[in-house]
């Protein structure tokens, strides 16, 4: 292009000078045309997995001028390069200039990086994918003339799954003369705009023993429409793979950071950038250098829960997480996330519905009757006081329950209770409890009839104190009914800040106390009270079904956490528990009574313990590193036989009871596994759980009707022996060792 402009320049001069020699004009025109087809000042070089180019914003500049250059990397899909701080593993790109290039260069201006998660909770990198342009400034030497050529090599680590350190030669020629911008000026300007600006607000880093909190306020960040914020450090002060939960306050926000534990000296100021992503997907970065200090006022509404080490943040999410509860932005916030205004109406409604439960309604009715009499005999004021006392009793009981829950949550430290659903034994216990409550609601066993007795007893209590305690006991003693609703409310607020939890429970209590309160102020309303009757029992039974659906959902969670065998055991455990209850309901009057009681108890306890034991069994470790274990296929068999191995093939299926029994008694035993390994016998599995024509063909070939089938190829022989359907360790070891 320089040649073209030079040609054009000269041509113009020539024409102006009047020398309109046609030949001259033609030659210059030709040169100009050719020049446009000459290679540009620089061309992209293929480094391997990236095209590398050195570009400039100026096509020409005077000697001694400072111009902007940039290293442009166009990456192959799926590959990435690294930011100035690569994170846990990586190297940032760099340019090594040739000796002849004596210009002065500034550092790269780094555009805002992405998160590159490599291993969840363990390895996190920072970098770029697809394309990155790294601008920097170059000052031309004062003695440059004619043209000036920059030459060097770009060295960059580029990774996908694996990493490759690539090198590409780069060169760029700039004309020395009056400054003029080149074709790449706009691109360099665009990428400069993607580099972070200096933060104009205030920042502070609170370093306390249970974590660092970075608070920031003012400046360019307003809470409006922020979808996420992440701190990218210039150095290794923090654990890169840790989540950074954020809390928004009135004047700003604060992020929880995890201090590095790998020996890095974290005492210096962790400079870096805050990257803010707004709801429309745009990202802005701000350079900060937070001094040590207390949290800025109005930034942390409440100290968020400690960041669990898991994934959160901006940018590429190119891996999938397995069922973790993310303590992400806005879970800990009071401003955003799960709105208080959504929870409270439901809590209130839940409280109201409680009044319909068989545990509470009779108490209400009897009290109501008492109220009408009191009104008739003129004790109106006393009634109102009683009503208030009752409400106080109910609400305080719920508040106490909330306080207990918060205490437990606090004592459990920083684990969110939602975490417990990650733990298989807990999920099993919850499933069985929910199932049990469902059985009770259906009426399979009686725990609640005593409530009605209690209720009438309570109603007989006199005085304000009596009314208060009626309230307390209505809340507490009516617990089996309250249980399901309480559980649901608990689930809804489990992760919320303490204030929300307390408020929800209080509102629940209010909902429950309200009808009684209303009655005490307007006894006439008693007419509106539904009369206790058999419909109460039907309603109670109805509520069993949401319980069963909850149990079903918990089972599906369990299935995701573990496998089919644990789920199977849990369902079996539920059946055992139901059986145990049935036995207790049908105890003989005499004679075998104690025996049946024992049987029932065993069924109940066994039903609970067995699935948990199954879930907690550790993974069986491989016996030796040399054992060959794999999936059966005819070609693999040939290969192993060619290599001189013996082979034991287990044709099995999940639904085949004999197969599972043989696994438990023989094939999973250590001594059998060791015998295989020591005698150079490969162990192959042909899984017939799903339809497989190849396996079916083999079964037909060996003239077996189906699974199980056990084939043993002694080392060196190509025809297998067929073992009996029922295995014992002695049988198998004997065959394998030839004894």
């Amino acid at each position: 292009m320089a040649v073209a402009s030079a040609a054009a320049f000269v041509y113009e001069r020539v024409t102006v000078a009047g020398n309109k020699n046609i030949m001259t004009r033609f030659i210059f025109a030709l040169l100009a045309a050719i020049a446009c087809y000459l290679p540009a000042q620089s061309e992209p070089v293929d480094g391997g997995y990236a095209l590398v180019e050195l570009i400039s914003d100026h096509a020409s500049a005077e000697a001694g001028d400072t111009i902007s250059l940039a290293l442009k990397l166009k990456l192959d899909e799926g590959w990435h390069v690294y930011w100035r701080n690569p994170g846990d593993a990586g190297l940032p790109p760099q340019i090594n200039w040739d000796e002849e290039t004596r210009a002065e260069f500034s550092e790269f201006e780094w555009p805002i990086p992405e998160l590159l998660p490599v291993v969840p909770n363990q390895i996190m990198d920072y970098g770029y994918s697809d394309i990155v342009v790294l601008p920097f400034e170059a000052t031309l030497p004062a003695n440059a003339s004619g043209t000036y050529t920059f030459t060097g090599t770009a060295d960059y680590l580029i990774c996908e799954e694996i990493c490759i350190p690539e090198t590409a030669p780069i060169s760029l020629t700039v004309d020395i003369g009056p400054a003029s911008l080149g074709v790449n000026a706009r691109e360099i300007t665009e990428w400069r705009e993607k580099t972070p600006t200096v933060f104009e607000g205030v920042t502070a880093l609170d370093r306390s023993s249970d974590g660092w909190t970075l608070s920031f306020s003012g400046g360019q960040i307003t809470e409006a429409a922020i979808s996420s914020v992440r701190f990218f450090p210039n150095d290794h002060h923090i654990v890169h793979s840790a989540a950074q939960p954020i809390t928004h306050g009135t004047a700003g926000s604060c992020i929880a950071l995890t201090e590095a534990t790998d020996g890095f000296d974290t005492s210096s100021i962790p400079e870096g950038i805050i990257v803010v992503e707004t709801a429309d997907g745009t990202r802005a970065g701000y350079k900060i250098a937070p001094e040590n200090g207390d949290l800025l006022p109005g930034t942390c509404a409440e100290r968020p829960l400690m960041p669990a080490i898991e994934e959160a943040g901006i940018g590429s999410g190119n891996y999938s997480e397995g069922g973790s509860v993310t303590n992400d932005a806005s879970t800990g916030s009071t401003g955003g996330g799960f709105s208080l205004f959504a929870i409270l109406p439901f809590a209130f409604l839940g409280g109201l519905i409680l009044n319909l439960m068989p545990c509470v309604l009779p108490v209400l009715s009897i009290k109501a009757l008492g109220m009408t009499h009191a009104a008739a005999s003129g004790h109106t004021r006393e009634m109102k006081v009683h009503g208030l006392a009752y409400s106080a009793g109910v609400i305080l009981s719920f508040a106490a329950l909330a306080a207990a829950f918060l205490a437990v949550r606090g004592a459990l430290g920083n684990a969110s209770l939602g975490f417990q659903l990650q733990n298989a034994p807990t999920v099993i216990v919850l499933t069985l409890i929910v199932f049990l409550v469902g059985l009770w609601l259906l009426g399979m066993f009686e725990l609640g009839t005593s409530i009605q007795n209690t209720g009438s007893g309570l109603a007989a209590q006199q005085g304000t104190a009596g009314a208060f305690f009626t309230g307390v006991l209505a809340a507490v003693v009516g617990a089996p009914c309250v249980g399901p609703f309480l559980g649901a409310s608990l689930g809804a607020v489990i992760d919320q800040p303490s204030g929300t939890v307390m408020l929800t429970f209080v509102v629940l209590g209010l909902g429950m106390a309200l009808p009684f309160l209303l009655l005490s102020f307007a006894p006439g309303l008693q007419k509106l009270l539904p009369k206790p009757g058999p419909w109460m029992e039907t309603l109670k039974q109805f509520f069993a079904f949401p319980m069963f659906i909850t149990a079903a959902w918990l089972l599906s969670v369990l299935g995701a956490l573990t496998d089919y065998s644990v789920v199977g055991w849990t369902i079996a455990g539920a059946s055992a528990i139901a059986f145990g209850i049935w036995v207790w309901n049908n105890l003989p009057r005499a004679g075998l009574r104690p025996v049946m009681q024992g049987l029932g108890a065993i069924a109940l306890i066994g039903g609970l313990v067995a699935p948990i034991a199954q879930a907690m069994k550790p993974e069986p470790a491989p016996i030796t590193a040399n054992a060959i274990i794999g999936d059966w296929s005819p070609t693999y068999v040939d290969q192993l036989l060619d290599d001189g191995h013996g082979i034991f093939v287990d044709f099995t299926a999940v639904w085949c009871v004999t197969c599972q029994a043989n696994k438990a008694t023989t094939l999973n035993r250590d001594e059998v596994k060791r015998a295989f390994a020591e005698n150079n016998i490969a162990f192959l599995t042909a899984d017939f759980t799903k339809r497989d024509p190849v396996i079916a063909e083999e079964l037909a070939l060996r003239q077996r009707p189906g699974v199980p089938m056990y084939l043993y190829y002694p080392p060196g022989e190509r025809e297998p022996q067929i073992l009996p359907e029922v295995l014992t360790p002695g049988l198998v070891i004997g065959r394998v060792t030839g004894k």
Partner: protein, 218 residues
């Protein structure tokens, strides 16, 4: 009020609450147990047990009283290749010197099956022979358990454990972060420095550094 029915009710409720609370606490207990202490300089190095390339079970406790070097490795990673390169044979030299001083050298391969660097015992032994390497053991940690215990992030990632079981050094093998074997000659080898200090009975100067290399292929 305190009749049998109420008592049994209360008992039932109490059991249900106790069960739930118990399982919640137990599960956090299990979670806590899983959180083995992260490696820290001056603290006892986390123990581990693994199976080596010859099928032997190897535990850190087998080497009580000896200095142990742990080297996370992946033979196909360019940064590992830098140190094993024919032209420098840096890692091989360190291993041979260590063996001469009765220092145990354990190479750990935490690559998961199917990922770069994963090998079976036979191949691991072949690599040792063909590269002229001299580790005391090559542990095949394909579940990544040992890697996670030590929070190994890169290959190479080095740990030096003193004879009193405390961790003396963790981090990069040397000071120049690159994949170029030519940089080895001009960089400081932190492992050698640590081993020399331990030998001389002086405190290790550089106890940790940010490791560089390919990410461990868990």
């Amino acid at each position: 009020m305190l009749n049998r029915r109420n008592l049994s009710l209360a008992a039932g409720m109490a059991t249900a609450i106790a069960l739930t609370a118990g399982s919640l606490i137990a599960s956090t207990g299990t979670a806590a147990a899983d959180d083995v202490a992260a490696p820290a300089i001056g603290e006892t190095a986390p123990g581990f047990t693994g199976v080596d390339s010859n099928g032997e079970t190897v535990s850190l406790s087998d080497f009580d009283g000896k200095t142990v070097v742990l080297e996370w490795t992946n033979a196909d990673c360019p940064f590992v290749k830098k140190h094993y390169d024919e032209s420098v044979k840096n890692m091989q030299g360190l291993q041979t010197d260590a063996a001469a001083d009765d220092i145990v050298w354990i190479s750990v391969i935490s690559s998961a099956p199917g990922k770069q660097g994963h090998v079976d015992g036979a191949t691991a032994n072949e690599l040792t022979t063909s590269r002229g390497a001299a580790p005391t053991h090559v542990i095949l940690d394909e579940t990544g358990e040992i890697g996670r215990t030590y929070e190994a992030k890169t290959t190479p990632h080095m740990f030096v454990i003193k004879d009193d079981k405390s961790l003396a050094y963790m981090g990069a093998i040397d000071s120049k972060k690159s994949a170029n074997p030519a940089d080895i000659a001009t960089s400081t080898n932190y492992v050698t420095a640590a081993l020399d200090s331990i030998e001389a009975g002086t405190p290790v100067e550089t106890t940790s550094s940010k490791p560089y290399g390919c990410s461990v292929k868990y």
